[in-house]
Amino acid sequence: MITGVSIYELLTVTSILFFIGVYGFMTRKNLISILISIELILNASVINFVVINKYLYPDMLQGVIFSLFIIAVAAAETALAVSIIINLYRQISSVEVKDTEIMKY
């Protein structure tokens, strides 16, 4: 818990982070940027869990443990996504979204 900072400010920050992530996911044209946007979303959730745990329910550790697992999963997710992106890059020499749309309509 940080003295002088209430839970509202922290949750506002995480919400902003979350929506930056969603916005980035929608608007970005580069696969890596999209991936980073997703990381933002996940991190917003992680912070959310920790903050809620610390401020509201300090006697249990559920939120903190949850965040630990989210981090692990996010790592796996990113590793996998980047490998697929690399594989794609080897074929089309690009990581732009517009180049990945041969399947359409």
Binding site: F18, V22, F25, I41, S45, F69, A81, I84, I102, M103
Partner: protein
């Protein structure tokens, strides 16, 4: 700690053991003999499926993180059978295309890992286990979707799948964190007691819904479906549309019917709208598809819309009909995908036009395909009819006649495009039809099991009674 508790996790432990055995096999078997792993995997999984049928007691483990009961157990068995059929159907493809690149065992390992994730997801007693299960069931599939590394669309499918999956799970997580904030627990049981209908809870629920809506490919989150199905190997498309969707529907149902039951007055409206949107979107887009995989993708979106009709009831009737429908759907869709797979493997043709005159050269395949499609469309006496009828009955039991009407209109629309395939196979004659070919034993076995399922499940009513009786645990 009592180690006999682990016996309750029989499915999970056995599957994990199989994964490890295959991993060891992959490490130590020489490259020339690698293809024997196919037989090993199918054999082991067959044993696993059989063992799964032994009864199990009802308990929860790890302080409520993991729970099991007869319904969950039953559904795991259903998924097992589905995966077994899938394995049988994809054995040839693996042998021909994948083992030559020396990555066949990875296919099994990843597939089983994903299935393991689904087990955990279905057995989860808290949101942590649920989340881990969800991710474990999604991530390997993304790898599998990109499995044919030499094909560009395969990679595209993989990246689309994983990016959408990650977004959905992220959004879902954010929702879970809100539920956690209002209830102070991530355990389902405690949440059920503590949950109140505050704005934050509702927001949390809606966000949470997104994660599973993605897996079931409900409408705002269906964009990935067609592309991924088209790009991914057929086995994986089949897996995504059948097993993955089935498991997600199941857990969504459990969560809505137990944990989020106090909020039912909110989510039933949501489900109502999404159901209509999903059915229409899926069906209308399916009308103009030419690629069989895309076609089945949109068809499966539409089917997901039908499933929501059972979800909206929030009653035991809903549970039973959903499980029943999903089971039937698994068999029907597997049969359809099996035929597509067989043809694609032999001739590389996946377009609807290529199927013209199929009946005259391959009567058995086209017969199975036709019955599978009719089952999907809901034509008696095939199983699909009963599944759909009961879903509609369930929805009508709550007075949603308009919804049922729209759904039945959609059944008619869907019949149109299913008949397009039947038309190509039966009505048309082709200059250049797909030549006659003989399927291998595995493929035939896979198709026959699915075929028998389609024919029998609907007519054999004790099965439904059994499901209904099981479904009382969630209400």
């Amino acid at each position: 700690m009592n180690f006999s508790n682990f016996l309750l996790m029989r499915h999970e432990i056995l599957l994990l053991a199989i994964i490890l055995i295959l991993l060891i096999g992959e490490i130590f078997i020489r490259v020339e003999k690698k293809s024997s792993i196919i037989h090993l995997a199918i054999f082991l999984f067959g044993i696993h499926t059989v063992i799964g049928f032994f009864t199990i007691e009802e308990r929860s483990l790890f302080g409520g993180m993991f729970r099991t009961n007869t319904m969950i157990h039953f559904f795991k068995n259903v998924l097992n059978i589905g995966v077994l059929i899938l394995l049988l159907q994809s054995a040839d493809w693996l042998k021909a295309k994948i083992f030559s690149e020396n990555k066949g065992s990875e296919f099994f390992i990843l597939l089983f890992s994903s299935l393991l994730g689904m087990y955990f997801m279905m057995s989860s007693g808290d949101f942590l286990m649920f989340y881990l299960g969800l991710e474990l069931s999604t991530l390997p599939v993304a790898a599998l979707a990109a499995f044919e590394t030499a094909k560009r669309i395969s990679s595209e499918a993989g990246i689309k799948l994983i990016l959408s999956a990650a977004l959905a799970s992220g959004v879902s997580l954010f929702g879970i964190s809100m539920l956690y904030a209002t209830s102070g627990s991530i355990y389902f049981d405690s949440i059920t007691e503590l949950i109140t209908s505050s704005n934050l809870t509702l927001l949390g629920m809606v966000l949470f819904f997104a994660g599973l809506a993605f897996k079931i490919s409900l409408v705002p989150f269906h964009f990935w479906t067609a592309d991924v199905y088209e790009g991914a190997p057929i086995s994986i498309a089949s897996y995504l549309s059948v097993i993955s969707k089935g498991a997600a529907v199941f857990i969504l149902m459990i969560l809505l019917f137990t944990v989020l039951k106090p909020l039912m007055h909110v989510w039933d409206n949501m489900v109502y709208v999404i159901a209509i949107a999903t059915m229409f979107m899926g069906n209308l887009f399916a009308l103009r598809q030419q690629n069989m995989k895309r076609f089945l993708a949109f068809s499966s979106i539409a089917q997901a819309g039908f499933i929501l009709l059972g979800l909206i009831t929030g009653s035991q009737l809903g549970t039973a009909t959903i499980v029943y429908f999903v089971m039937i759907y698994i068999f029907s869709n597997l049969a359809a995908f099996g035929v597509v797979q067989a043809i694609s493997l032999q001739t590389g043709k996946e377009k609807m036009n290529d199927y013209e005159g199929l009946y005259r050269t391959n009567p058995n395949l086209s017969l199975i395909m036709m019955l599978a499609l009719f089952s999907l469309a809901g034509i008696p006496p095939l199983a699909g009819f009963f599944g759909k009828f009961f879903l509609f009955t369930a929805a009508a039991s709550k007075g949603y006649y308009l919804l049922v009407f729209l759904a039945v209109v959609n059944v008619t629309i869907s019949l149109y495009y299913y008949l397009l395939v039947v038309r190509a196979m039966f009505l048309r004659k082709s200059e250049n039809p797909i030549p006659y070919f003989k399927n291998t034993l595995y493929m035939r076995l896979g198709l026959i099991i699915a075929f028998v399922g389609i024919l029998v499940i609907g007519l054999y009513s004790p099965l439904y009674d059994y499901i209904y009786q099981l479904s009382s645990v969630f209400n």
